[in-house]
């Protein structure tokens, strides 16, 4: 091979054509989507305190359990239904509640019990199984495996966090907004040339460049010292408002041919001064939901369901440092135009000593996987038997709680 600048330019022109024809890079508008509703799954990592988010102020035992974390309308929380009140950190979502586009399921959990480890708890939540090692990969991926016509862009795992629930045999896309690759036109051509002979590198490079081009956070892009400075600041994972960028990116993909997006919001492990920590975390969750709503636009939002789930709830009693410790029963948040909201679902177990799990945690009264399974059933048409054997092996979905319109 004898390379010259001229032959490089000829070659890169040829490369441009072959890029357009690459199956990996099929423009999203051409891909056929197997169904039309949208699902966003948010993993709330760290263990969200159900009792402080959807506050059961109507329960006679509630007030005695929480001191610095006292809730209810008297503490400034919005009343939801005469029994539950909403933490002020989610107040930006009250218009959605009133429109029937926000709901909760209280006192749910995965089958994970007793050890109360974040890692194991999250692994199980994402594996969707009753115990560790009972199925390959994650439940969203196993759902995709059930549905014919799924393509790489159908489902997107977004952000820096590993999303086990999307891993498995079905093709999925993954990208972190802000992870883009801005090269000068010449560097881009040369990088392509360097990697051309190595299929692993070449495919990843082309996908990275393609996803960067589709990533609106990168403006027109390309060249100059401004781009270099931007690269410098982009070497590390983005901080600050990263969650809204993730949500905006999810919305952008879901407006196109993607049908499922999953990402994480961290910061729920509030052992210490929960009043601050939870307010911040709920702020991120509120902003993420509102960013999804505005990014999707009324039409797509109307057929969207957002489900936010966490690995476990927290102790019903406040601890000695103004926080709560790892518990069991938790809450799930639902949002979107496709859900029948304005309600808190789930059977309330009570907070008397005898009603608690292990005398310390909110007693889970239902398997969170059952709520998720009914969502998947309603949104994608996946059959009950596939959901109970493949997606969530061994689950009994029970009766339909009617979460969707």
């Amino acid at each position: 091979m004898n390379l010259t600048r001229r032959s490089l330019l000829t070659r890169s022109a040829a490369l441009g054509c072959s890029l357009a024809a690459s199956p990996l890079l099929t423009p999203v508008t051409l891909a056929a989507a197997p169904w039309d509703t949208r699902l966003v799954v948010i993993i709330l990592r760290g263990g969200m305190d159900a009792l402080d988010v959807v506050q059961p102020y109507g329960d006679p035992d509630y007030a005695g359990l929480r001191q610095s974390l006292a809730g209810g309308p008297d503490a400034g929380s919005a009343d939801l239904d005469g029994f539950y009140a909403l933490h002020p950190g989610l107040a930006p979502l009250l218009p959605l509640w009133r429109a029937g586009q926000l709901g909760f399921v209280q006192a749910v959990s995965t089958p994970y019990r007793d050890r109360r480890s974040h890692f194991d708890g999250q692994d199980l939540l994402e594996a969707g199984t009753a115990g560790p090692g009972q199925a390959e990969g994650g439940w969203l991926n196993r759902l995709l495996q059930l549905i014919p016509g799924v393509e790489a862009r159908t489902a997107f795992a977004i952000g820096q966090e590993r999303m086990l629930l999307m891993e498995g045999g079905a093709p999925v896309s993954q990208w972190a907004p802000g992870a883009g690759l801005m090269l000068s036109p010449q560097a881009e051509r040369l990088a392509g040339l360097l990697m051309e002979e190595d299929p692993l590198f070449h495919a990843a490079l082309n996908e990275a460049l393609e996803l960067t081009r589709q990533d609106l956070s990168f403006g027109a892009g390309g060249g100059g010292s401004d781009a270099d400075d931007m690269m410098m600041s982009m070497m590390t994972a983005p901080k600050g408002k990263a969650h809204t960028e993730v949500a905006a990116y999810a919305a952008q993909q879901l407006r196109g041919d993607s049908r499922i997006a999953a990402f994480s919001i961290n910061g729920w492990d509030t052992h210490h001064r929960q009043a601050n920590g939870l307010k911040n975390a709920l702020g991120r969750l509120s902003e993420s939901v509102l960013t999804l709503q505005s990014g999707l636009g009324p039409e797509v939002w109307g057929k969207t369901a957002v489900a936010a789930v966490t690995e476990f709830g927290r102790t019903v009693r406040e601890n000695g440092t103004g926080g709560t410790d790892h518990g069991t029963g938790g809450a799930m948040l639902l949002a979107g135009g496709a859900i029948r909201g304005g309600r808190v679902l789930g059977r309330w177990p009570g907070l008397a000593e005898a009603d608690l799990y292990d005398r310390r945690d909110l007693m889970p009264t239902a398997d969170v996987r059952s709520s998720l399974a009914w969502l998947l059933h309603g949104l994608t048409g996946a059959g009950r038997s596939g959901l109970e054997t493949d997606v969530f092996p061994g689950l009994d979905m029970g009766s339909n709680p009617g979460m969707l319109l």
Binding site: W175, L181, T236
Partner: protein, 461 residues
């Protein structure tokens, strides 16, 4: 087989350096490994027992702060605790800088690669804020002194390390019939975590000849392995399950519970033929390819068995086998190795790294590993980092590598080298025609250097 110095440094060492000569022979590599651990002396990182003192201070300051909760002294106690925590995080970043400098300036790159291999094989992490900085001191104490000895000594050092006992929940595992469990009902829990991983990951391998009963029995045998932050490792007979335990059809213990019974089981596991195969294969994967030559694995496993797990012998078997020297570069360097070998090719001076403030060092050399898929010292489980090339070269991780190559070198060096010379320094005869062309055709030095580091020729080994 002709010995290829450059390939030796690329595949088995820390990568080519414009300052340091690659090894002259396999014997030369093994000789250096047998000699003094020079890099550890020149670029020190505290040993585990020194660093654990910081954890004690951490807990003390935290306790003092919670005692001051709601009192006038809270602000000062909070500041003392926060300052100490920050200083400790800064220290961790500093240790990372030392670790990188070892790769940049060592004449004994094979040793550094073996440190990475064994620290990953025996992955242990701190699961709370006080212990989360301890991975580097753990490698210093558990891995470095033992990697040229027998596998069983390395295994024992890892399994009795406080960080491992903490990470895999051994510390509070009590035999169901132990004195401690009878005395405190809540403490009746046997924890199988470490026993399972010792069989599955550290010795026999997941396909090894063990059953759930062996896991359970080994877990009972392990009861009593514990530590405290002041004295380090200790064996607590009161937590040990009374009676003998049978692991792989051999009975251990029976009389008074003693540490020696645990150690002899570990020695037997270390010498098991399944362990020989597991370790041989894993080393072959790590140094040669995702799917290694079966003859190479057989050759190394046989030497392992013949020497009762003498690691120098196993390394010698690796380096003498022709399958280890195929000229085609295959394995993708994981992010740390990629960064470290790039710094070595750039010959980043020690003084430059020493001058970096912790925040800057973090932004340039530690935090960029996370978007590349390797949140350093925090792999997702006890099985450590993936060996699969496909795990590292995803679109977003490759983008992160390219971003680093385009932005970081300029921050690390006063003057970037001429890309044409840099291609030679970084790759030697492995600079193929495409690399040389890119070095000539790049529009700026920054891009030229970045492209050379981005080339598959540099990213594989």
């Amino acid at each position: 087989m002709r010995f290829d110095s450059e390939l030796a440094e690329i595949r088995f060492g820390a990568g080519l350096s414009p300052l340091l000569q690659p090894p002259e022979s396999a014997g030369d590599m093994l000789e250096r490994l047998k000699g003094e651990d020079e890099a550890a002396r020149v670029f020190p990182v505290p040993r585990f027992d020194e660093a654990i003192a910081g954890a004690r201070t951490f807990w003390q300051l935290k306790k003092e702060r919670s005692q001051q909760e709601g009192k006038p002294g809270y602000k000062a106690a909070d500041k003392a605790f926060t300052d100490f925590r920050r200083a400790r995080n800064h220290a961790r970043i500093g240790w990372h800088g030392q670790h990188l400098l070892r790769h940049v300036h060592t004449r004994d790159g094979f040793r550094e690669r073996l440190v990475l291999f064994w620290a990953d094989h025996f992955t242990a992490q701190g699961k709370n804020a006080a212990l989360r900085v301890m991975a580097a001191p753990y490698a210093e104490t558990v891995v470095r002194p033992h990697l040229a000895g027998r596998f069983e000594d390395l295994l024992i050092a890892a399994v009795t390390s406080p960080l491992m006992l903490h990470y895999l929940d051994q510390r509070n595992s009590a035999g169901p019939a132990s004195w401690a469990a009878k005395r405190r009902k809540r403490l009746a829990g046997l924890n199988e975590n470490l026993a399972r991983e010792v069989l599955e990951l550290h010795t026999l391998g997941v396909d090894g000849p063990y059953s759930q009963t062996d896991v359970r029995q080994l877990a009972e045998l392990f009861t009593g392995l514990s530590f405290n932050a002041k004295d380090g490792f200790m064996f607590r007979p009161g937590m040990a399950e009374p009676g003998a335990e049978t692991v792989l059809e051999k009975a251990y213990g029976g009389g008074k519970p003693e540490l020696g019974q645990v150690l002899s089981a570990l020695r037997d596991l270390a010498r098991h033929p399944a362990t020989a195969r597991h370790i041989a294969r894993k080393l072959a994967v790590y140094f040669t390819a995702d799917v290694p030559d079966p003859e190479l694995v057989d050759h190394m496993a046989a030497r392992y068995q013949a020497s009762d797990g003498g690691l120098m012998q196993v390394y010698a078997a690796l380096l003498e086998h022709p399958a280890a020297w195929v000229p085609e570069l295959r394995n993708v360097k994981p992010p740390f190795d990629f960064l470290a070998s790039a710094c070595r090719a750039l010959a980043v001076p020690q003084a430059r790294v020493a001058r970096l403030k912790p925040g800057k060092l973090n932004r340039l050399l530690l935090a960029p590993l996370t978007p590349m898929g390797q949140r350093w010292e925090f792999s997702s489980g006890p099985d450590g980092w993936s060996e699969a090339d496909t795990a590292w070269i995803t679109p977003q991780a490759l983008a992160a590598r390219l971003r680093w190559t385009m932005a970081a070198p300029r921050q690390l060096l006063q003057d970037l080298p001429d890309p044409r010379e840099f291609a030679e320094a970084a790759l030697g005869t492995y600079a193929n025609e495409r690399v040389r062309f890119a070095a000539r055709a790049a529009e700026t030095r920054t891009e030229g250097v970045g492209l050379i580091l981005s080339s598959p020729a540099f990213q594989r080994r």
